[in-house]
């Protein structure tokens, strides 16, 4: 039990001293998950709105599939991408296996169902009258989408925050497709896995606390935006 308290003190020590290795992996975690979240949001917010507003056969089924995909294990995505990006595989020529680019793609795939599903949910919360009023006042499709997204912005931003959380906390995909290479693809979560496996429990706990601390800082910033 003392490991937890010692982990906490170790975390504070690492943060205050700006330990270079910790800074490196923390920066990489933020860059990879931030990029993945941003790009996935740019794709999923419009796409989710589109799905929400468009009535087509199989829409219920599609939403069901999206929600089922919330449960895809991260390591399975990692395996799929490992085979895809392997030099012996179909996209091997791209040469992005064991690079942060592959990790970004992996996390994008991971959080896309989440962002889609939660955006659709968020938009369902906007009353139909709002949409009808907009249409009757002559709003185009684009304008209506923008209006509704703004109406639901609180819930939509919550979806983005959740997407980021899912991305920055995952291990399986990053481990498989990144290889946990020191100085190249090691991030906080894969480092935790490594250190815990080596029996360095204190350090592993410290890294976990640092990750939570980073998430807290980001949340505070995003919450400020949410309230504007």
């Amino acid at each position: 039990m003392t490991e937890i308290w010692e982990g906490l003190t170790r975390a504070v020590g690492l943060l205050i001293s700006f330990d270079p290795e910790v800074l490196e992996i923390a920066g990489r975690s933020l860059r990879i998950s931030g990029t993945a979240c941003l790009l996935a949001s740019l794709i999923c917010l419009p796409l989710g709105s589109s799905i929400h507003f468009h009535h087509f056969r199989g829409k219920r089924v599609l939403i069901n599939i999206i929600q089922t995909l919330f449960s895809v294990p991260t390591v399975v995505i990692g395996l799929f991408l490992l085979v895809l990006f392997s030099r012996a595989g179909p996209l091997g020529e791209l040469g992005i296996l064991f690079t942060p680019a592959a990790m970004v793609i992996g996390q994008m795939i991971l959080i896309t169902p989440l962002l889609l599903g939660l955006t659709i949910s968020a938009l369902s919360g906007v009353s139909k009258e709002t949409v009808d009023t907009a249409t009757s006042l002559g709003a185009s499709g684009f304008q209506t989408i923008w209006l509704v997204l703004r109406e639901a912005r609180y819930a939509v931003l919550a979806a983005v925050i959740m997407g980021f959380g899912r991305a920055i906390s995952e291990v399986g995909c990053a481990l498989m497709v990144g290889g946990n290479i020191k100085g190249a693809t090691r991030i906080i979560t894969t480092a935790i896995s490594l250190e815990a496996g080596k029996g360095e429990l204190e350090l592993a706990i410290a890294l976990g606390i640092i990750l939570l601390f980073l998430a807290l800082v980001i949340n505070i910033v995003l919450n400020r935006l949410q309230q504007r």
Binding site: A88, G92, L94
Partner: protein
């Protein structure tokens, strides 16, 4: 209105493609970065810290970014087969031979061989201090020790457990070889019956993690001496059987035919066998652990 939705879907598709292309282009800015050599290593070399020790020296000497990924020998050879790494450092003669026989290795220049030994140590059987299976201090061969563990474990699984790496690693390969040498059918006799009886535990983790598990469960396990020495300070396990020809553990490097950088891989081979680096390897860990974790390549021993 319907037309608008289709337009949106198209826009999204275009954004997605641009995003993916951006990610891949930005992630590959290879022109301004140093050359890369990727090596897949067995976990026991990584857990001991040897690679960390040698990495900077190699990078400086050859002006290259050495990227090491640590996996079990099985996975390392798989990566080598696909060309996702340029070289592998492993320690499973059976799997290495298959790898080379299938044509995935390249002869190293100046060595007249594809599997190049560069260091060795020994495997040892470690276990709890009170040694319930009574295998320590009795001059048992490794095979006899394994027999005792199986026999006592079968009777009293609460007291005697053996943790296997269970992951097709070099250590796992050696373990299987010892069971075979002791006359057991590994799949049915050990894995099948052993797991059912409760004394045989398949961990599926790296060497360090397996040692930690054995320590927690007060169980026996097979480990290479290097990793054990590196972890000894934190463990209550003690070495119980450490003599026997079968326990020899030779680390070899193989250049991967499908890899992207055969020239630099050759440099790695030369590096690992260079006299000054060999001296460093032999001295590695001595100040911290009192004895060497690895021994220099010796043609008579390593072949």
């Amino acid at each position: 209105m319907k037309g608008d939705w289709l337009k949106i879907a198209l826009v999204v598709l275009v954004v997605a493609v641009i995003a993916l292309v951006l990610v891949m282009v930005l992630g590959r800015s290879g022109q301004t970065e140093p050359e890369v050599l990727r090596v897949a290593t067995t976990t026991s070399l990584d857990d001991t810290g040897l690679w960390d020790y040698l990495e900077d020296i190699f990078e400086e000497r050859y002006d290259v970014d050495l990227q090491i990924t640590a996996k079990g020998t099985g996975m390392a050879l798989e990566l080598g087969m696909n060309g996702d790494v340029d070289a592998v450092t492993v320690h499973d003669p059976a799997q290495e031979a298959t790898f080379v026989a299938n044509g995935y290795g390249v002869e190293a220049e100046g060595f007249n061989a594809t599997r190049i030994p560069w260091a060795y140590n020994y495997f040892i059987i470690v276990g709890p201090e009170d040694d319930p299976a009574r295998i320590g201090g009795r001059n048992l061969t490794p095979e006899e020790a394994f027999q005792r563990m199986q026999q006592v474990g079968e009777d009293v699984p609460e007291a005697v457990k053996f943790i296997s790496r269970g992951d097709n690693s070099g250590t796992h390969g050696k373990e299987k070889a010892i069971w075979a040498s002791a006359g057991y059918n590994y799949t049915t006799g050990i894995v099948g019956n052993g797991t059912a009886d409760g004394w045989y535990v398949e961990a599926g983790t790296g060497m360090g993690a397996t040692l930690v598990m054995a320590d927690e469960l007060m169980a026996y396990t097979l480990t290479d001496k290097g990793t054990f020495l590196a972890y000894q300070g934190d463990l209550d396990l003690v070495p119980l059987v450490d003599t026997g020809d079968i326990l020899l553990n030779v680390y070899r490097v193989i250049i991967c035919k499908n890899g992207g950088n055969p020239e630099m891989a050759n440099n790695l081979v030369n590096f690992l066998r260079a006299p000054d680096i060999q001296a460093l390897i032999a001295g590695f860990g001595v100040p911290d652990y009192g004895e060497p974790l690895f021994y220099l390549h010796h043609p008579e021993i390593c072949g």
